[in-house]
Amino acid sequence: MTWIQTLEYRANLYVGLFSIFSGIFIEYLIWKQIFIARGTELIRGFTFNELVAFIFLSMIVGQLKSSWITSIEMIDAIRNGGLNKYLIRPISFYTYHLMLFIGQNSLFYMAYFTLIAAFPFIFPGLAFTTNFQIFGFMSALLLAVYLSYNMYYMMVCVSFWFHEVRALVIAYNVANIILSGQIIPLRLFPEVYLKIIGFTPLPFLVDFPVSIATGQLAPELWTSKFMIGLCWCFFTWAMGKTMYYFGIKQYGGYGA
């Protein structure tokens, strides 16, 4: 149902594509000037073309994993008592909105996968050079989307106690654009920030799938990284479930 609705609103897709292409264009101009000014071929192991390919793919992944619109709808449901209708449905609030999120993003998935399919032709030799990388990227992308949804879900559950948490979601979304490596690869960050970010699930949202696709992450590290990512998925899922369990006891059902 959501998929059909999404197909009706193609303008979202056009603006989404414009967002990616304009974003990569600005980044391209900035990094071009930096490479020219420095007069070097490499910055932290990236050639200019590798860096542009990396940022381009990061922007696509960044949009695919973002579920802030769904989150705002979920927060409104809790605030306004709209959650009542989900309580009588034979599907949980969590699963129902996960499905809605996937449905709403379906058009993006189709369009962006076309872009990704064209990637080896746009940036030959810079990404998806082996089937193993394609498979690894798809798996890491699934992990990233699921982890991202869980993180948003945790913030949504905060609204059981503090009704107005939309600002929290928006603030997280704004910070996420930089801190997950969506417009600047994480390895270009200063070491001290990298260490702090390394203790959070943020590197698994964008940097991990893109590093696999572009060959920046050695294959022998994939398994351990996937295990850590899955642990984060489990942790955030359990946290969300626990918060919902206690939060629903606070829920009045009559709206804020």
Partner: protein, 266 residues
């Protein structure tokens, strides 16, 4: 003319008082808005910190120039939030649901009411902090920045704001033609991000485009240049001409849009 200006200023003061009362009732919204602003500013600052850890200048903008540019961008954003952000976003809903009728019935200019009815009062706090930051940053700057620079900056800043408003308003007005244009605010946000980077990164055709048809370089970069490097009369006159042209264009588009408006049956 003077009486009309005074009347509209009084009206806006009444809108502001009303909005402030509403905002004070929802303190969580107020605090949330301030937090989002702080995070947004921090993220932008962090972005340029990383960029400038690899290079000393971006075109003609040094690191300290970019800090001034950034604060000006934040001030533009905050003033825009304060005056317009609560008004243009709901225009789509007003047109789709036919609620624009209630605005058209009022005995004042409908574009004024649609554009200024709600004020995001929490932005005042951010604005005060940002202005103090700008004064501090310019006083520490290696270039001597005098009061005349501030005067030309103020004119240029005002023109930049008109351009921003005009572009956002024109995009919002597309709802008259597309009937339901919910992506309008997203589209304008995506176009406006060109103004959040110094104009020195844009070259060739892009630069020409961002100084003319989509004049995003005139929103923050040109005011920053006026403040840092002093008056560039040709550039300032050009900016005034562009901002007036865009503003007049909004009047025309609004009138054309209203002709297409079909009230509650839209």
């Amino acid at each position: 003319m003077e009486a009309m200006v005074r009347r509209y200023l009084n009206l806006w003061a009444a809108f502001f008082a009303n909005s402030l009362t509403r905002d004070m009732e929802y303190k969580a919204n107020l605090i949330g808005g301030i937090i989002v602003d702080i995070i947004f500013y921090s993220v932008q600052y962090f972005f340029f910190s990383i960029i400038y850890s690899y290079v000393n200048t971006l075109g003609s903008f040094t690191r300290e120039d970019v800090m001034v540019f950034l604060i000006i961008t934040f001030i533009s954003d905050t003033v825009y939030m304060f005056l317009f952000s609560g008004n243009l976003f709901p225009l789509n809903r007003l047109v789709v649901q036919g609620d624009l009728d209630f605005i058209l019935l009022k005995p004042i200019n409908s574009q004024f009411l649609v554009s200024f009815r709600f004020v995001k009062s929490y932005a005042i706090f951010s604005l005060i902090i940002l202005i103090l930051m700008l004064i501090n940053q310019t006083s520490l700057h290696s270039i001597d920045i005098g009061p005349m620079n501030y005067l030309f900056f103020s004119i240029s800043f005002f023109c930049g704001l008109i351009i921003w408003y005009s572009l956002d308003f024109l995009i919002a007005c597309l709802t008259f033609w597309f009937k339901n244009f919910t992506v309008g605010s997203w589209l304008s946000h995506e176009i406006l991000k060109f103004s959040a980077r110094p104009d020195s990164i844009y070259i060739g055709f892009t630069r020409k485009l961002l100084f003319s048809l989509i004049p995003m370089a005139l929103v923050s970069s040109v005011p920053a240049r006026m403040l840092l490097y002093g008056l560039n009369l040709k550039l300032l006159m050009y900016q005034i001409a562009i901002s007036l042209s865009f503003l007049l264009f909004t009047f025309w588009v609004w009138k054309r849009g209203l002709l297409r408006y079909e009230s509650a049956s839209s």
